[in-house]
């Protein structure tokens, strides 16, 4: 790893913001020979308050929708200059910037085969503009545009299956990761960058402000999402599921839900919790998240 500090203190993310933590882990794993294109969103805003920048690598702010297109141009230019092999290109955005408004540019980047690592920092809503729901907001989340009412317990749609959508492009590497597993993030970034072609990584990053938990709970909340099966840590290589973090005992989703204000309205509502448990159970089955019990005798 470089000794140079690649992501510096002095950025203005909220205390305990997992997106700021994950962004630092990503660039430290990628190293200094990296160029980043960054969609608008909290990460862009809190890391580059002009005239300061937290980034000690070349970094460009795109529009909200097009970091994948800007990164594609950077990659093409590096190939023309004969410098691509020595340089990583990363495109990064929030969940809104990825699954909604930036999906077209991302799909183009994946389909054209650019040698770029795309990272989606998934805090499950449009945080920078005040917690509006996105395509990656989970089922029954209370957000400002999916408020709870007498008729609806929050957001009515399940998460868009972005890893599978990316995988359907026939790209060599797709992975999910979580701020609750920092070493795993760095391992996957390094692995992704060792593979030529388009790569998609989606990192679950708790947002104390939008999820309404204490800043010191960030890592615990992130871990619970994985340990309940609601945010499976998986890898696809060349289209095939090649890895999944397994657990001998998966926790009930209620443990994850009760740790956050955005799900508080569900706690006295066993029917809703059952529906969310069904999402986790489906993941457990689909990705085979249950570890075989070790024979102890």
């Amino acid at each position: 790893m470089d000794n140079k500090i690649l992501f510096k203190p002095g950025h203005t993310a909220c205390a305990g913001c997992a997106q700021s933590l994950a962004a630092r882990l990503v660039i430290e794993a990628a190293g200094s020979n990296t160029i980043i294109a960054n969609n608008t969103g909290c990460l862009e805003v809190f890391s580059t308050k002009f005239p300061d920048s937290a980034w000690n690598v070349p970094w460009i702010h795109s529009l909200f929708e097009n970091c994948a297109a800007v990164a594609s141009g950077i990659e093409a230019a590096l190939i023309y200059l004969g410098k691509k092999d020595a340089t990583n290109v990363i495109a990064q955005a929030g969940d809104g910037g990825t699954a909604d408004i930036g999906l077209q540019a991302l799909s183009g980047m994946l389909e054209r085969g650019h040698d770029i690592l795309y990272i989606c920092y998934d805090n499950e809503a449009y945080m920078n503009t005040g917690v509006q729901r996105s395509g990656l907001t989970p089922f029954y989340t209370n957000t400002t545009t999916s408020p709870i009412s007498a008729r609806f317990p929050g957001n009515l749609r399940p998460k868009k299956p972005m890893p599978e959508i990316a995988n359907a492009h026939g790209i060599p590497y797709v992975a999910t990761a979580s701020a609750g597993f920092p070493q795993d993030i760095q391992r996957k970034v390094k692995k992704a960058l060792s593979i030529k072609g388009p790569k998609y990584m989606q990192i679950h990053v708790p947002c104390p402000l939008g999820w309404r938990h204490e800043s010191g709970q960030t890592l615990a909340v992130a871990k619970l999402a994985v340990e309940t099966g609601l945010y499976p840590l998986i890898e696809y290589e060349n289209g095939k599921l090649s890895g999944a973090r397994k657990f001998a005992q998966l926790k009930p989703v209620e443990e994850y839900l009760k740790a956050q204000g955005r799900f508080k309205h569900l706690l006295g509502d066993p029917e809703s919790i059952k529906q969310i448990q069904a999402i986790a159970d489906n993941n457990i089955l689909k990705y085979n998240l249950k570890a075989e019990a070790q024979k102890s005798d």
């Binding site: 510096k8 002095g10 700021s20 308050k49 070493q183 890592l219």
Partner: protein, 90 residues
């Protein structure tokens, strides 16, 4: 030609986010630390530096007091203390 460029990002000082701490600040006891550096790896501010018990240090100019270093420490060697409990606010 281009919009705002930050030519020497390494020189930018950023905001002194240490002033955001309102209640608690992390304090290294330096008793049971085994130098695992987990605190360094999870600090979102990148404001902890050092190698071992003797050298690990928090830069209070930037520490926002989020508490993640204290939560992750396997040896409970980082306590979150009241901001004013030990002299003035750092």
């Amino acid at each position: 030609m281009f919009g705002p460029l930050i030519v020497k990002p390494a020189k930018s000082k950023g905001s002194k986010t240490g002033s955001w701490r309102v209640k608690l600040r992390p304090e290294f006891l330096k008793k049971n630390c085994i130098g695992c550096k987990l605190c360094i790896s999870v600090c979102p501010e990148a404001c902890i530096q050092g190698k071992d018990k003797e050298t690990i240090k928090i830069n209070y100019e930037y520490c926002k007091g989020c508490g993640l270093c204290s939560v992750i420490c396997p040896k409970s060697d980082i306590l979150m203390l009241e901001e004013e409990s030990k002299g003035d606010k750092k």
